[in-house]
Symmetry: C2
Subunit: 166 residues, 2 copies
DNA sequence: TTATATGCAAATTGTTTGCAAGTAT
DNA sequence: ATACTTGCAAACAATTTGCATATAA
């Protein structure tokens, strides 16, 4: 049986089916059309690593069809965001990154301020407290963003070594 | 006795003293100079509402000295961020906002996606779990950002009313 | 005196938009 | 046929940078 550990981001076939239908629903409702570029961008996004930037995604798309433009990627990602298939994330660098809105894996991020590496974690206890807080304030909670910034183990070691050299 | 409730952001005299010394330390270490503009910008920032944008801050600064330029405000806020006096925050709109790095009030944000209003909350239980998570991954935790997006009570009411009219 | 700071304007970066030509329905 | 889409380039908005001038040390 195929193992799927919690750091594996490849979406299941079932969730892709779900996302595809979310998208085509939304498109039908709005009278939007299914074009080769859109299909290519969406499928490329589904295959992408987590937290793709527009640039990275465009590069992958152009590997398949070199004449796709920036604007189309922006427009398509905005579309995916609107219909709940993708989430926009803005970390420290000035780039917008996108991830699959996989409801199952409500993970959050631990970001190293030295090497910029991103570790994901899940904490059901925090999720529960969040709901509580939202309730207390009368909010209907839609989504959240929880980022912790720090120095990862290997950068701590590196920094210690560097200061020891002095 | 003066009450200071948890939604009052005016910093105490003591914490301002602390921030001023953080800043002058940093400046001494880097050989930076204390100019009228820097002093004015820093003091204006200390008096500002929480989550000021560069624009708002500049407007207040120019009330005092109309010929201060954008670039100086950007440069000074970057300086404050580097020496740990201010935090940069990026919410949904494309603006960077700044807040005093007040360690005591480790508040987080609940943001209404309809009216953009921001409610702050504190949750010691979440803080504790965060430390735990960071430890598990060998991270030395420096700061965090925890934002919850939803619909506030009054916007929910408004939306219900609107859909009732149909 | 001399290295840092300032204000301005120009440059950069990420993202959005207008439009003529192309294409799905 | 008739909208919707695309790619391009131009437009934008936020932020950064280069440079001549001003100023703190």
């Amino acid at each position: 049986m195929k193992a799927k550990n919690k750091h594996d981001h490849r979406p299941t076939a079932a969730s892709l089916t779900h996302f595809r239908s979310l998208l085509s629903n939304h498109m039908a409702k709005k009278g939007l059309r299914s074009t080769d570029q859109r299909k290519l961008i969406v499928e490329t996004f589904f295959k992408s690593a987590n937290h793709v930037s527009i640039e990275e995604l465009l590069a992958d798309v152009r590997a398949e069809d070199p004449k796709v433009g920036y604007a189309t990627v922006y427009r398509t990602l905005k579309l995916l965001t609107e219909c709940g298939v993708a989430f926009e994330r803005r970390f420290g660098d000035g780039l917008t990154r996108y991830e699959l809105a996989d409801e199952e894996s409500h993970h959050d991020h631990l970001i190293c301020v030295e090497c910029q590496s991103i570790i994901e974690f899940e904490e059901p206890r925090i999720e529960r407290i969040q709901e509580e807080v939202a309730d207390q304030h009368g909010f209907r909670l839609l989504s959240h963003k929880h980022e912790m910034y720090g120095v990862c183990a290997s950068c701590q070691a590196k920094l210690n070594r560097a200061s020891g050299t002095r």
